[in-house]
């Protein structure tokens, strides 16, 4: 799964046309090894089109920020290449690259007014004062901050600082906008709101956005495509729906959360239909064309917690069902998470919050859970 396996870019279709139609951004076998032998990024291959919103998602230390910093020129790769519209960015310093970054803590210039912050890039381009002020005001208008143009960054709220940071990079008309945990510094309500604002800003601009986050929800809600990274490598590249419902590897399934994993052996095979059985006798069937496993080989599947139902138990458990004991009923307002065990790994069922009264206080009882075959996903290791 280290290649850009997923085909055409689904999200780009909706974007408005932009003048700068090049071949897009290519990361080719990109590798970064720090002095001391730590490999932060290992053989990353990725293609991003103009107008596409791509999110690099992964846990702390997975190499996503280093990848972004290499695209921006703040780190230099030790292997591979970065090509933007046919031009290799390899050894270019940041100020000679057509990319700009929105940093996690915004990195506004505290000694400059909002207007001077926004016009900084234009000043560096030697644009005359009047022209750059006008352009900067346009950019501020775009983010709704024209009244605050003369304030210093410290007199702004977190959300306003965020918008200044956006205006500051947009005004330079970059070919690619890089966002490093852009919502990390905002409180939760504001984060939710900025997700929508960022997406609504990106679509009409038709700009390439590459966004780094460790927040699964944020990635799912914003991306055209998600690149899940772990341990310096890409685990899966796919649209949000696929990532959420069809995780390709155990790592993705666990990182995205709320997936039940059944680890066992291939028990029987009927053409493309496999039946996997774990050591406690739980059996799940999955449709997996092209899989070459023989009976007895190790295999692993996942089922989303929301696709699992709680049913009454009678007789021995059939295929795609398991008898479990309830460990804990967790009420979360909108939904209820029921934690269960079948003897092996913990299992999880998500049901709507209305069903809480029927589940309350039932810890210790045995129930049967079941799922449909089409919700089962075969995982690679």
């Amino acid at each position: 799964m280290t290649e850009d396996a997923v085909g055409p870019t689904e999200g780009a279709a909706g974007a408005a046309p932009s003048e700068q139609r090049g071949s897009g951004l290519d990361l080719i076998a990109l590798t970064k090894e720090f002095t001391g032998g730590v490999v932060a990024v290992d053989d990353v291959n990725l293609h991003v089109d103009h107008g596409e919103y791509v999110v690099l998602l992964g846990p702390s230390g997975c190499g996503k920020t280093t990848t972004l910093r290499m695209i921006g020129g703040h780190e230099y790769p030790t292997g591979g290449d970065i090509v933007l519209d046919g031009q290799s960015l390899g050894g270019l310093p940041p100020h000679k690259r057509p990319t700009t970054t929105v940093f996690q803590h915004f990195a506004l210039f505290p000694h400059r007014s909002v207007l001077d912050n926004v016009s900084f890039g234009l000043k560096m381009d030697k644009m005359p004062k009047h022209a750059r002020r006008a352009r900067a005001m346009e950019a501020l208008e775009m983010v709704g901050l024209t009244e605050l143009a003369s304030r210093k960054p410290r007199a702004l709220s977190g959300g306003q600082q965020q918008r200044v940071a956006l205006a500051r990079v947009l005004v330079t008309k970059p070919k690619a906008l890089l966002l490093d945990e852009p919502l990390g510094d905002l409180d939760r309500l504001l984060q939710l709101r900025m997700r929508g604002e960022l997406r609504n800003l990106q679509r009409p601009l038709g700009l390439m956005f590459i966004h780094v986050t460790h927040n699964q929800e944020e990635a799912l809600s914003m991306a055209d495509r998600i690149v899940v990274m772990n341990d310096a490598r890409i685990q899966q590249i796919a649209d949000p729906l696929t990532i959420a419902t069809r995780p390709a590897t155990e790592l993705v399934a666990r990182f995205m959360g709320d997936n039940n994993i059944i680890r066992g052996k291939l028990a029987e095979r009927d053409g493309d239909r496999l039946v996997i059985e774990d050591e406690h006798g739980v059996r799940a069937s999955v449709h997996a064309p092209g899989d070459k496993r023989a009976p007895g080989d190790a295999a692993m599947v996942s089922v989303r917690a929301a696709a699992v139902e709680i049913a009454a138990a009678d007789g021995p458990a059939p295929l795609n069902a398991a008898d479990c004991e309830i460990i804990f009923v967790e009420f979360l307002g909108d939904l209820v998470k029921v934690h269960l065990t079948s003897g092996g790994e913990r299992l999880l069922v998500k049901v709507p919050g209305e069903r809480y009264p029927a589940l309350r206080g039932r810890e210790g009882e045995r129930v049967r859970i079941s799922w449909k075959e089409e919700d089962v996903q075969l995982l690679s290791a």
């Binding site: 720090f34 002095t35 920020t65 280093t66 772990n230 990182f255």
Partner: protein, 327 residues
């Protein structure tokens, strides 16, 4: 490149689960990122360019003079200075009659005693000040404002403060004696307040206490107040809280303050000269006498021995805390 050994999935899963629970800034990545980067790449030359002028300056005006003292201490005295004839005679003279009649060691002992008293007194009297500022003043702004008011005298002349200490306040007819007579604590003026060792030592506390208050203030500010509350919760009285929680965490500050005060008071010259008015001597005034008598090699040897004592003293003080680890 592409096919290195596959990672152990179990290990990774554990990491992922951890990451799921705690949504923090990707510290590892940032820490790694700081090492590299375009600035880091050409780092060697850039660092050299920034550092070289300063170190040349320090080499010429600091390291060279100090090294030269050591050299001169092994040279031979002449009527106008010294010549490069190697000898250890001056050390012999200083070390041979190693008894307390030797005025050098007498002075050394007095200075050492003064230093110990100064360190102890600055700690005892300075700690409550730092504690009050860091723990009992609520707003940070007020803390800093009060701290600066307390710190401001540091910037004024030690010499002027010594003068102000020695003449109007201390002395036979000083304000302190007059006050004590007026409120009938003493009937005669206390002579010891005059140009005396006691007066010098009191002045030292006044001059150097800020070197103790400052590091203590910064370290006490970092002590977690909830840790103190937790210790009280768990049944500690104020003394055990102080001993188990506050003291260990402020130890580096005590050590730094002690080193400063020890070194600076051992090497005192101006204050002793002004307050003591010749009646009090120290290693500093002793060496000054030798220099004025154009006995440069002996003065240098005395200075080297002083530095040896200082190094041992500082080394001894650092035993109380591992500064490298705790700062």
């Amino acid at each position: 490149m592409s096919s290195s050994s596959p990672p152990d999935p179990r290990l990774d899963v554990a990491e992922i689960e951890e990451a799921e629970e705690i949504e923090t800034t990707p510290r590892t990545e940032r820490a790694l990122g700081d090492q590299g980067g375009p600035r880091g790449r050409g780092g060697g030359w850039v660092t050299l360019a920034w550092g070289l002028p300063g170190f040349i300056w320090l080499a010429f005006y600091l390291v060279a003079p100090l090294t030269f003292i050591v050299l001169v201490s092994f040279w031979t005295r002449t009527d106008t200075g010294f010549v490069r004839d190697w000898t250890t005679a001056d050390y012999g003279a200083l070390l041979h009659p190693f008894n307390l009649d030797n005025s050098y060691w007498k002075n050394m002992l007095t200075s050492f005693e003064t230093s110990l008293i100064a360190v102890a007194a600055c700690l005892v009297f300075g700690f409550p000040v730092a504690y009050f500022l860091a723990m009992k003043v609520e707003k940070l702004q007020n803390q800093i404002a009060l701290f600066i008011i307390a710190l401001a005298p540091f910037w004024t002349s030690f010499l002027t403060r010594s003068v102000a200490w020695a003449y109007p306040l201390m002395g036979r007819e000083g304000a302190l004696n007059q006050f004590l007579i007026k409120v009938h604590i003493v009937s005669q003026p206390v002579d010891a307040f005059g140009f005396s060792t006691l007066s010098v030592r009191l002045a030292m506390i006044q001059l150097y206490i800020l070197f103790m208050v400052t590091p203590l203030f910064f370290l006490l500010g970092q002590v977690d107040r909830y840790a103190i509350e937790a210790a009280r919760d768990l049944g500690g009285n104020w003394f055990s809280v102080f001993k188990e929680i506050i003291l260990p965490q402020t130890m580096p500050g005590i050590v730094i303050g002690s080193i400063f005060i020890f070194v600076l008071t051992m090497g005192e010259y101006g204050t002793v000269a002004v307050i003591g008015q010749g009646a009090v001597s120290s290693v500093g005034t002793f060496i000054q006498q030798q220099v004025l008598g154009i006995q440069y090699p002996q003065g240098a040897a005395s200075a080297v021995l002083l530095v040896v004592v200082l190094i041992f003293g500082v080394f001894g003080i650092t035993r109380f805390a591992n500064l490298r680890e705790e700062l």
